[in-house]
């Protein structure tokens, strides 16, 4: 185990964590402000990836695809909120889970009907398909560096938006105490729609960024949605700061664990057992992390409601 390995793995963990943050940020705002559990969040991620992949392939430009896909997904999110999700705010969490799960299933089938069952290709921009030499002996994929860059940029943007703008102030007020914000004159309905559309745009960015690394396929949103929920539970509902810290924690622990646990098991037991047990334990590591955090801080690390 050497320094270069640690640096490379840390960068991988950072990259993964920042993408999780994009999803978790939208999810935690919706949960925190509108008090709505949205299982369709992963579907927005999937729709975003599909739109970006299709437009990028048609126009032969990754950036145009990214821009148009994000705008398209934000629009779809907006329409979804105004037509369907608005009616779920007043209902209890179970009804919201059922309703948004139905949307999840319908999105999967609609995407399957339009694009087919096989994954569609999404290639990174040609200029970034190879490695960059960061340090002597460490070549890191340029595309993953782009992901890290985009993630940090969005995090900064969110910070400025939430702490320095009027819109951000309303969002924070709504997350802290919705009734009070309403009585103070915040146009809650428009705020909700704007937050939801913004969350959808963040999902699309994540989908477009991760698409070239993973596969753009039906059902791609489910596995990352579960991780996003773990992140917001760890970070605290309604807090973007919590979403960032939680996402970075989950990203680093998951990536680090996937490398260290099989190694550790390799020393402790026979190679055969290690080969089966290692990956299995590594994949439950983040749930152990979540349990640990909740044990010490049941409201998460940075709860918005104190």
């Amino acid at each position: 185990m050497n320094g270069i390995l640690i640096v490379e793995q840390s960068l991988n963990g950072l990259q993964f964590g920042l993408m999780l943050f994009l999803l978790a940020a939208g999810l935690t705002l919706v949960f925190g402000i509108m008090d709505m559990i949205n299982l369709a969040h992963g579907s927005l991620y999937m729709i975003g990836a599909y739109l970006i992949a299709t437009i990028a392939a048609a126009s032969n430009s990754f950036w145009l695809g990214l821009l148009a896909g994000v705008a398209g997904t934000a629009l779809i999110g907006l329409v979804l909120e105004v037509t369907v999700l608005r009616r779920l705010y007043q209902r209890d969490h179970l009804a919201q889970v059922l309703g948004t799960f139905a949307i999840l299933l319908m999105s999967n089938e609609t995407v399957r009907m339009i694009w087919g069952s096989q994954p569609i290709p999404l290639s990174p921009p040609l200029a970034l398909a190879g490695p960059i030499e960061l340090l002597p002996g460490l070549s890191y994929p340029a595309y993953r560096l782009l992901i890290i860059g985009v993630g940090l940029f969005v995090a900064l943007l969110l910070y400025v938006l939430v702490t320095r703008t009027r819109f951000g102030m309303h969002v924070r007020a709504g997350a802290a105490n919705r009734e009070m914000a309403l009585s103070m004159g915040v146009n809650v309905q428009r705020l909700f729609t704007a937050v939801f559309a913004f969350g959808a745009a963040l999902c699309a960015i994540a989908g477009g960024m991760l698409g070239p690394l993973l596969a753009v396929q039906v059902g791609m949103g489910e596995s990352i949605l579960i991780l996003a929920f773990v992140v917001i539970v760890i970070g605290g509902i309604g807090s973007i700061r919590g979403a960032l810290i939680g996402a970075l924690l989950v990203g680093l622990v998951d990536t680090g664990g996937r490398m260290l646990i099989p190694m550790l098991f390799g020393y402790l037991m026979s190679p055969d057992t290690a080969a089966s047990a290692g990956p299995a334990v590594a994949s439950i590591l983040i749930y152990l992390l979540m349990a640990g955090v909740l044990f010490c801080k049941p409201q998460g690390l940075f709860p918005a409601r104190g």
Binding site: M1, N2, I4, L5, E8, Q9, N12, Q15, F16, R112, S117, Q118, P119, P121, P124, A129, G130, P131, E133, S139, Y140, P141, A142, Y143, R144, P212, L213, L214, A215, Q217, V218, G219, S223, T255, R258, M259, P262, P271, A275, S276, P279, S283
Partner: protein
């Protein structure tokens, strides 16, 4: 004595009833062959299932919709790469559609899950892909035929190749499921150099950053991967993206370097060695016809999965013809299947006593052909008339 009017009036009905009863006893041959095609048609593994299905259907197009001279119907099911969904689809095909043959499963974990119900219903399964060691050895069954290979075979061929090439230090990577385990076991049976790194990743893992970092740190000479379909596409792109292709050579079985992966990865794959029992550039007549017809029908070059689906259909076609359509006579069908009276697109083909193939294996390399296409070129033969390692454990009556 005069026959009562009632009986005379009923006689047409009685005649029809009698003929139906006779038909039911199976004294007359079947009038239609039903084949259940259960494959993975969604998710990252979908490309493999689609190719098997297309290869199989190509034979029907060539014979005018017939197998063994009888009209054939292929009922397609999607196992969605889930053993549970595969079991449900199998139930439907066996009980509701009452298929005569089944084929198509891509992944060995699904094959192991749906095998027993199929064998218990006395339906013949012609595997066009999955060849788990269990079904080649201790759990072999008279109703299971494999027309592709036993899971270890292509990996054994690459193990021998890398051993002969003198590749000293290797990293091995395979998904954590039965075929993945079989792959590494098979590879190590013929490779005796130093295995520095051996990793099994979850079947749904698409990001190999961690594994690539470990390979870089281990400074290996060669990397052997078994990552079928979409998994291989992602790995190869990430491997090249991380700059590792400069320092180490990538080897794989044909599964990780065939047309589906080449289409998705492109130039970065040039120079990758892989092993297979078939190449589209093989010169025998059956193969030339297969490749030409496949390209004409589907507008793409066939993969080894398509060739296996094609051979499965040709095998069923030959067997049904040999038993003259009497598919109810299971013993006769089994004998006809074992005889394998068909021209395989890979050249020499025959079944071993465990109903798995005995065949030749070749080394291929991804290169540009005369038309400038990036595709596989078949090089030398690695094994001749190679049998699998589990045939000794199979105690099936022949």
């Amino acid at each position: 004595m005069k026959i009562p009017n009632r009986i005379v009036a009923l006689s047409p009905t009685l005649a029809v009833a009698a003929s139906l009863l006779l038909a039911g006893t199976g004294a007359i041959a079947a009038d239609k062959i039903k084949v259940g095609m259960l494959s993975t048609l969604s998710g990252p593994g979908a490309g493999l299932g689609v190719d098997i299905r297309d290869g199989f259907n190509l034979v029907l197009k060539q014979t005018g919709g017939k197998l063994g001279g009888l009209p054939a119907e292929v009922i397609v099911g999607d196992d969605q790469q889930s053993p549970e969904a595969g079991r449900q689809a199998t139930e439907r095909l066996l009980k509701q559609d009452k298929v005569d043959f089944m084929t198509g499963v891509v992944f060995s974990n699904i094959m192991l899950a749906v095998g027993q119900p199929i064998f218990q219903s006395r339906t013949f399964y012609i595997s066009a892909n999955a060849g788990p060691s269990q079904f080649a050895g201790a759990q072999c069954n008279p109703y299971f035929f494999n027309v592709a290979w036993q899971n270890d075979n292509l990996h054994e061929a690459m193990g021998k190749t890398m051993q002969d090439k003198g590749v000293r230090r290797v990293a091995l990577l395979a998904p954590n499921y039965p075929a993945g385990k079989d792959a590494i076991v098979g590879f190590k049976r013929f490779y005796t150099g130093e295995v520095v790194l051996e990793r099994y990743t979850p079947l749904n893992q698409l990001d190999y950053g961690a594994e690539l970092s470990l390979m870089r740190a281990a400074k290996v000479d060669g990397v052997y991967i078994f990552l079928p379909g979409g998994l291989g596409v992602n790995f190869i792109k990430q491997f090249v993206g991380a700059g590792l292709s400069k320092d180490m050579t990538l080897y794989g079985p044909g599964f990780s370097a065939d047309e589906d992966v080449i289409r998705a990865v492109g130039d970065s794959m040039l120079g990758m060695f892989n092993t297979s029992q078939w190449g589209h550039d093989m010169g025998n007549a059956a193969n030339k016809r297969f490749v030409a017809d496949f390209q004409k029908e589907y507008g793409r070059l066939p993969t080894l999965y398509a060739s296996q689906g094609y051979d499965a259909a040709r095998l069923i076609d030959a067997a049904v013809r040999d038993v003259k359509g009497r598919v109810e006579d299971k013993e006769a069908v089994r004998k006809a299947l074992k005889a394998a009276h068909f021209d395989s697109v890979r050249g020499a083909f025959k079944f071993n006593s465990n109903q798995f193939p005995v065949q030749d294996y070749y080394l291929r390399v991804v290169s540009k052909d005369v038309q400038g296409r990036i595709t596989n070129r078949t090089l030398n033969q690695v094994f001749k008339s190679h049998a699998d390692a589990y045939v000794g454990d199979c105690k099936m009556p022949s």
